[in-house]
Symmetry: D3
Subunit: 236 residues, 6 copies
């Protein structure tokens, strides 16, 4: 992904991105039932670094497993590359935590761009106050060992019903998270950037009292002319 | 509905309304699993204007359908009468959006009294900031075309498990939305208004330390006497 | 429970408590799918006082049942001992209310330490503003009579999938509620208190840039030494 | 319940019973999501004897609890009166068994009229072959101790979303189970018996090619005349 | 639809049909969570005739509504054209019946080709024995008036999450129901017929011990040659 | 696993196995919401060979992917060792098929001991008639490409909420499937074999009219004496 793309993706909405992806036949790109812990000014943007849980087997998950420095949950946090978003496959099960504030802090300190689980975090009020975007289904205090066994990382997973391949570009805004296939991230960034200019123009016109018919989409000729003028005037 | 009824309904709680309706044998009046995008001072009140989605068929829902000025989603927004609440049957499926901020803005500009979906909105943080009440299950970025095909409007629908007939009076407060059959809206408004006075009296007494037994409901004679006095004193 | 235990429990997180309980083989202690109506400085702490609903039978639940001073919902509110947390088994069904603001106010005035339902409250925005912690699945306006029949209180129940025995110690923080068996409440309070000191130390180290490997859990010798020093310095 | 009522109830359908109850304002009488393990010639009929489970706490539910002769699950089986139907509140959770074939056999030998759980049975293929009607949500091998703690019996419960009071008359046919309040069981039996005669008449007419309009319900005069004749001819 | 198409569709599997539709970009054609009441030799095939329920409002749904000869449920049964399949939108809610045996019998006598609901039937064991295919989610005794209000028919609906337009070709086999857009029914019938021949050939080869690699799909040249020969030999 | 263990496991019930595993602290061993397609005389027994699906991305899953001989679904079928049970992680999503009859036939011909998915099979009526045990949630016609992308095999997975490691011993009877950790399979087989003898004895005694108290579990001394005698007499 080009660095301009990252900048563009930081400023468009997930809604706009899903439409750009829909036009290319990709309908299943929005991680379902996941919401941000806090509202932020800019979007979360970064390549996916994945972590996979399977259901925990009691004998393999005593509290002592964390003493193993290679435990996949801990190892994943230490190996997630800077600028990446950690995406966790918790099988959409929020009955036990996917991670807690200490691990999320460590990810933040290592330069992680964000963290997403289709389960839940423990210490979620604390995480909400950290300077790293986080998305979950709902808060969940119990230690992951209760129900989740960290198995492997950096492999393709499902998260919230969406396929996530390592390196896919993950974008999160105030309502949710979209996953963009790595190879089209630049073109999607460009298109969404353009679409956003048009949507901003439409918003202005709607607030001036114009009907959406003919305006959105721009089926009336004058709409495109007005938009051209608006771009010039607004330098976009 | 009389205009006084609208004023009364703007100031009672959905909880009170459900009790008044329960007394008339109407148990299923609260749109389930729908919450406001923002807290507001006054209730949303208005007659229902309905929109129905069915599951989308891929070949009938390319992005180009919006070029049709008669597309039911767009047409509904332009035809919803002033002061009405648009209520959308999204089959309780929030995996794709029922509408986005541009359409909700247009509805607002046209004088819509509010919008309710049993699915979700896209651009929901933006909608939360608009000057129109909106209720949804959860935010949802994907365009409606992904899963929802707008089919018709101004017909009876289900929304959040509740029957909604065009013209039913829809009231929304800080916790949810109640649907009142049109023909009893005035009497329900009157009754809820009266009940609210009594509940305010009860609240005051409870805060003074009185037990709820005999007070709520007022099975002790003195309760009704106290209430009569309270009304006089408080001009209610 | 010792009074020091109450003080300790007021300052540890539910996450920490679930780990302490997990070490004792108790995996199912976090009331699932329940969230606080408001964020508070201190935890909710108190012994459980339970209330059980069964599904309502229409002929047994007209609005007039509340005239009976022995109605279990009303009686429970008046009998819940000071300092106790009322925990309601609503069969995880939030389609009708478990209680409303007047009853919650009365509980508050009587010194109740909090209220938890695995269903929902009516008047939830009002309850959110009261000076008593409350936890629910989601707001629900309809009167309990619609779906819930209060049957008995002060007996063992399930709440959010968790067994709750009268007298169990209930702790609620900003993300949820944990139930601690009465007979181990003191030792859990002690252990969680100690664990919290260590977690605060770890948090500080992580923010200084230290890796979690060897630190959390403290498998490196220096970690324990550093911690000992930190405790001395911070008086913990 | 009169013994004629039992005979009548043994030969009407649950569908007919729900309609008779609906006419009296009872809408919630069909135990949801429960099906028979085998098809039988006659209905299950008997007064309810209830058993309640709460979620299991691990430390209270080792395998050794069954050594206690007062364990509520075992005690309930030994105390269920002859001719009664055991109805189990398993909180609609079929992830662990409510009972297995040995207990169901014992109930059968003691003269139990049937057994119903809104969870599942273990050894369900064996139970399906026993000479006692049994209804469940789905089969479930794990011992009840895994998730269910038998708490008490002979108290009001919920089962499949329906209120069940001890002594209510429980009727099960090839599609499910209906709960009839004890005090109206006789009149419901009479009415359902009469309705069944009419439905049998209607069925015959429909098979002869008659339209349902005017026939069912009998809004055409001739329908009632034809029915009167049919009753005479068929001795019903 | 050509009559040959009907014959072809009667003998292919729903699985094969979904693949043919998938190749044309139609992914959502299998009515979810619906199963046949009985296994039959031939498929159910016919154009869709639709019926739509909304949630029932208590005051509009007393038992007397059926006295109205225009009641949409009864009217739909009498108006469903011969050879059509009645498809009912019950909002995937099986807690009350969509129809019972008398109505299904009447539909059968009028030449209906089948009936499908995404809810449930009452009298389902009787319906299972009738000479008309029927599909449902699960059995449900309560009268439809309890929860479902028949609203209109012969309009586009959703059933089991699938869009169904009047006239779409509905095919049901031993595992479920597929909906084919009317305008491609003939070509889908042809293609599925051809695919079935190939699948029968593949089945034979697999039973002879051949690997699926190169055979299914036929990426090895010899596979296609073998298939050509097989067709000749088997006259297909 | 010893070959005697396989023989023993073929004749005990999943219920008995879950109890033996429960005694060792393993509570989550029964694959939830999965049922056999047909009833069989002997249990399915074999080591697990796993296959993992993630959600399908449309551009990566055209119908042509099956032309790749390395496609993980096809490759897994060809590589599953003789005597093994294929266990598929379909994320508990039965909306599209995990496999169809041709693949299951091929697995059967290669000596597979069975197949389990927590989703569904297409062509399920055909699979029900094959000479290989198969377990699923519910039938599902749509091709797996619609929703499932086969990703990898022979790795640890979750199936029906249960952890499954390659080589774990999978046992299926008439009600479901149990997963036994490989390293304790022999001792579990022995214990379940012994337990089954005792349960058969108990069954006989219950049918003779004996109470379960003191018999099951055998807390009365005479029970154990009777059992010893019974074993001698019955050669077990």
């Amino acid at each position: 992904m080009k660095s301009e793309s990252r900048e563009k993706l930081a400023k468009v909405s997930c809604a706009t991105l899903t439409t750009a992806l829909f036009k290319r036949g990709l309908r299943n790109v929005f991680i379902q039932n996941v919401q941000p812990l806090s509202q932020r000014e800019e979007n979360m943007v970064g390549p996916a670094f994945t972590l996979r849980y399977i259901p925990a087997r009691e004998d393999l998950n005593p509290i002592t497993v964390f003493q193993n420095p290679e435990h996949p949950q801990r190892a994943a946090i230490e190996k997630c590359p800077e600028g990446h978003v950690m995406v966790i496959d918790s099988r959409q099960d929020p009955r036990a935590a996917s991670a807690g504030d200490i691990l999320v802090r460590r990810l933040m300190k290592r330069g992680g761009a964000g963290i997403v689980t289709d389960g839940g975090f423990r210490d979620s009020p604390t995480i909400a106050g950290l300077d790293i975007p986080a998305y979950q289904q709902r808060p969940s205090s119990p230690t992951n060992l209760t129900l989740h066994q960290a198995m492997d990382f950096d492999i393709p997973i499902g998260c919230g019903g969406v396929p996530v391949f390592p390196g896919d570009i993950v974008v999160g805004d105030g309502e949710g998270v979209v996953v963009i296939p790595a190879d089209i991230a630049d073109e999607i960034a460009d298109e969404a950037h353009e679409m956003t200019a048009f949507e901003d123009f439409v918003t202005e016109k709607v607030m001036e009292g114009r009907s959406i018919i003919g305006l959105y989409p721009p089926t009336q000729k004058e709409t495109l002319a007005d938009f051209a003028e608006w771009r010039k005037k607004n330098g976009r």
